[in-house]
Point group: C2
Chain length 425, copies 2
Amino acid sequence: MSILIKKVRLHNDVVDVLIEGTRFAAIGTDVDAHAATHIDGTGLALLPSFHNAHTHAAMTLLRGYADDMPLHVWLSEHIWPFEAKLTEDDVYWGSKLACLEMIKSGTTFFADMYWHWRGTARAVEEMGLRAALSAAFFDFNDPDRAEPMKQQVMDLHAASAACSDRIQFMLGPHAIYTVSGESLRWLAEYARRHGLLIHMHLSETTKEVDDCLREHGVRPVEYLHSLGLLGPDLILAHAVWMTDAEMALLAQHGVRVVHCPSSNMKLASGQFQYAQMHRHGIAVGLGTDGCCSNNSLDMFGEMKMASLLAKVTAMDSTVLPAAETLGMASRAGAQMYGLDSGSIATGMYADCILVTLDHVQMTPLHSLTSHAVYSATGACVDTTICNGRVLMRHGVVEGEQEIINQARAAVTRRTAAIQDKTSCS
Amino acid sequence: MSILIKKVRLHNDVVDVLIEGTRFAAIGTDVDAHAATHIDGTGLALLPSFHNAHTHAAMTLLRGYADDMPLHVWLSEHIWPFEAKLTEDDVYWGSKLACLEMIKSGTTFFADMYWHWRGTARAVEEMGLRAALSAAFFDFNDPDRAEPMKQQVMDLHAASAACSDRIQFMLGPHAIYTVSGESLRWLAEYARRHGLLIHMHLSETTKEVDDCLREHGVRPVEYLHSLGLLGPDLILAHAVWMTDAEMALLAQHGVRVVHCPSSNMKLASGQFQYAQMHRHGIAVGLGTDGCCSNNSLDMFGEMKMASLLAKVTAMDSTVLPAAETLGMASRAGAQMYGLDSGSIATGMYADCILVTLDHVQMTPLHSLTSHAVYSATGACVDTTICNGRVLMRHGVVEGEQEIINQARAAVTRRTAAIQDKTSCS
């Protein structure tokens, strides 16, 4: 399969772009080739597609289900009871809805942690995206719970061998307050034996840090260090409450961090210290988190949130400028998950988007990068391409109404099940 | 003129809505009438349109022109030199571009402060929106500059009598550091003699507060109080750096405040203390500020920014919940500018929007209010109605490509003029 995009804007030039198979084959001022698909790039600009470095895709089913509550009420009285009812089929439709939202807003890769791994994997296969999917691991310090979770890791790891190479299996210990030190050690050893990434939440709230200090006598990064987890295969989501010493440890071990600004603000978790992280040279990707704490998967909105929050947190308007933010949302996310994507260059995976320049939010065109970060939304995306395949053209994804209908039906079934249970108890 | 909207979702009901002339005439489960325009509301929800309580509309021309800079470099080396070159015709096209962006994202009213008042007024008349337009007043403490500015106020006030009743003239002293105390007193007296609102920036940065303390020995709100400005006809934009005593003074005098979260974050001005303002019972509207410090006029994005910033600033996820945020962006803005709009009720101005429910960001529909604030963008707006007139239907505004083209041409002319001047000097 091949795609030839003629006369598209790339940075400040107008170029032709040839995609052969899954990768960019040629980029130049006059590329001619016989291609299966021709795209007229007039009035469009080419950008790398986004890499959503931390989410819980199927939580689209809970979008708007519970907001504006104290964290423990939100989790224990609303989110967990709903999630406990979800089936693999529900997760499949919730993940398809998430994939649809991502394709429509220019994202071609996401890193996930959730229940019913197979449901999400099936959705990703069908929708044509890339993903690093972790199976959520919780044992609540109970060895009886740890054993079946370990078995699940091994089973899913084996099952993932049958997936296409767009899907990467990774380990997903939920957090230090939900997974025992023994299980964390086991996961680290398993990851290193099999060359897998470890994706976990860390230092999201002050409560988590305080509890760690009380229980283990050290701060969360130091605790992970004592368990042997720190390394370039560890990716930490949130990392809001960090001392300079902890950042230095992360930098020293090449640990990567995912910033989730909307979620940290909506749950009042705290303000990520981007300027300090950047000074320490820590690689930072961008994540939307799940649709219950954001409630959108549009990486355009997330870029703006990240850049603006970083500036006001540092009280310095030069922090996290537009180009750096765009890199965080594309290249940085790709690199931390080991992908040849996130930038437009010959030999890289053909993961990219075409944005409409005749859009009011793109006018006037003083700077495409500025507009992408500060003005545009997902609605500016005309075409989304992943792995050399067109997933959306002129804003339309095949079968989108069916996905919306099926996701609604799944929610109706689960809501009914919860109400049944409530009325019986 | 009349419009009948059949079977549209309003809150949790499905209703018919009749608009006669400029106002809502009937809302009920089975309204029948001969109407000039019929709209099928199936799959759509009715919301009040947004009221952007502080902006500089024509700054759309500078969208993305200069970002990520220290404030003084940004203003003195980039924004002011560009603005100095703008003609009334440029401001007209810049304002039309702003009106287009607002209509497309569901805003029907804006409060403005800018140069070339007549250019903006002409754009508003043609585009069909409502606006409160102030002539920016600067005298830099120079009596020789104050006199022509006062004359301009009187001239524009007289000229505004010829405008439609969609346009409200108001006074626009820029700030306490750019307008003398004597001029501020004169403006307050003029406003009260003629029943006009006063719209100004206040306490945007710590520098402004420090300078006020040094020059006048009091904080900004106390300084305005000493000049006799505090009253329910005073609307203050930003109000970031406020003591409890200042908030009490504002509450006591019924002064209204406009929160501009994106601008305050992007310029690293500071974090608005919404929770405290709310406790003091101060009416707070929402503004995007101009396109140079935001860089979007989409009030959906601004609502999310406001709510999330309020939560993380107060470290309390229950602060500024979705319904209160939607009210801030619609009803509160309408009320502070004395308009019978901002909510859907018989007798109110027919200023409203229809949003598409078959949109991925609206799925599943646990809560329309939550989705409006936390998930949707302007792209979810199907129809915009102002003053009983349809300004957009199915996402299309008449003549939008021409506005985009003309705004681009204005920018090309001004950029050339600036480069000419630079190369001659």
